[in-house]
Symmetry: C2
Subunit: 309 residues, 2 copies
Amino acid sequence: MQITFLGTSSGVPTRSRNVSSIALQLPQRAETWLFDCGEGTQHQILRSDIRISQISRIFITHMHGDHIYGLMGLLSSIGLAGNPTRIDVYGPPKLDDYLRACGRYSQTHFSYPVKVHTVEPGVVFEDAEYVVSCEALTHRVPAFGYRVSEKDRPGRFNVEQAEALGIPSGPLYGRLKRGEVVTLPDGRQINGADLCGEVQIGRKFVYCTDTIYCDSAVELARDADVLVHEATFAHQDAELAYQRLHSTSTMAAQVALNAGVQQLIMTHFSPRYAPGNAIALEDLLTEARAIFPNTLMAQDFYTHEIPRR
Amino acid sequence: MQITFLGTSSGVPTRSRNVSSIALQLPQRAETWLFDCGEGTQHQILRSDIRISQISRIFITHMHGDHIYGLMGLLSSIGLAGNPTRIDVYGPPKLDDYLRACGRYSQTHFSYPVKVHTVEPGVVFEDAEYVVSCEALTHRVPAFGYRVSEKDRPGRFNVEQAEALGIPSGPLYGRLKRGEVVTLPDGRQINGADLCGEVQIGRKFVYCTDTIYCDSAVELARDADVLVHEATFAHQDAELAYQRLHSTSTMAAQVALNAGVQQLIMTHFSPRYAPGNAIALEDLLTEARAIFPNTLMAQDFYTHEIPRR
Ligand SMILES: [Zn+2]
Ligand SMILES: [Zn+2]
């Protein structure tokens, strides 16, 4: 389970940073999920080790151009690249209408089913391994943060040990696997938990953009292994952040701190912090670390493995 | 007057070729005109020596995604990069509706006027220096080829020579500049043409995509200095060209030959001609040159100066 940043600039691309997109690679199921799809996301994928054919779900935070203008091109190219069974796209109201309008005007008809899901706060996807939920953030247009939670996995049941203890195979094994205490025909009491390895705690990835500091971001990010939070502006430019409902580096750090996450990665930086500006991008990192030391700053193609606890 | 290819792939970008866009740089008026604007065009501009702030007109050939999906992002970035007085966009019916729909769904309001002109065959723009006209091509959707004609400039009037001949300055000079024969007060007859340098013949650039071979492309390209014509397929894949209403290399060359152009540059190549395919891109060039020797093959960032006669 690892994330790769495909774009880390806000609003417009620069020579070194594209607009927003993050790929979440799930190698055990040979799938990649995308979060946001700014213009040029498919070009960034071509330059990465992500296979376009593995993309199965795309989650969109909000309808601003720097988060969606790459979606039509990517969906078209996915169809031309292979034979996908289906793509699920999740996002705010109007995303479906937008894609339909683009498809109509450009006479683009996907060769495979594209299912668009309009999200509301709560669970937006769940299967045996993952739950994806979202919360409303605070931006100029409706924006949603996403949380991907891998489900906890029970520890491995030690069959060899059970056999060595002379426990008859059959329904008892099932009860022991679930951690129950069972009484054997010979009167011995066996605690199933003693025969099971440690529970594998599921990993949690949270993505909050675009937003000013808000409590729902804190709620969504609670206890996450990795929180990716936008940090468009430096603390000194907080006035701009309030005007445009974006976050400063210190707001991102405050969310991470209040949510008790393991790791904060900041992204979505204003292109203004280029050489020549009195404030440099490194200053945003210093500001954030003063509040939340375990902070990193994303750059395009940076890959971060989300570790198990 | 020079053109720079910003994308030379058809349908989808590859690692080395983006989808369609060509920049026509007019240094004497510090303007750049774009032809088509596939996804990632603004990214290509960032990597070129073209200044986004000099873009004043954008001509769109047709509504397929690989020719328009970069337009909204580019127009947004133009607004954020500077303070343009206005951008004129020319294209097929529905282009205006498409841009309005995208603007509405993404809540993008340009900070400057964007005027969209729906083109029909004939003159689409004219000022003192240039005429741009278009013709309908033959594709699966309405598609237009464009011709940019620089107007002929009268040769420079040799004032020094006129003075040396003792011609009194005043209205006579105007008549001589226009090449008229005038009779001086002293009875001498002077032919204005003798006092004027050679007429500067205007340069002509023609862009035809997407289309199968058609007579209107030949008409549009008549006597052009540079014809850029699509050549999606190799001659051996003509069957595909007929199915999809694209051109083969040999069709592009036939247009160039029949129109009597000076130079053909082929572009819009199918990504299928990658290493591993039995047909290579070089084969398209060989096929075309057999018909029209003065043929080149575009690649991304290739710049071609359009020479004066
Ligand atoms: Zn944004
Ligand atoms: Zn095309």
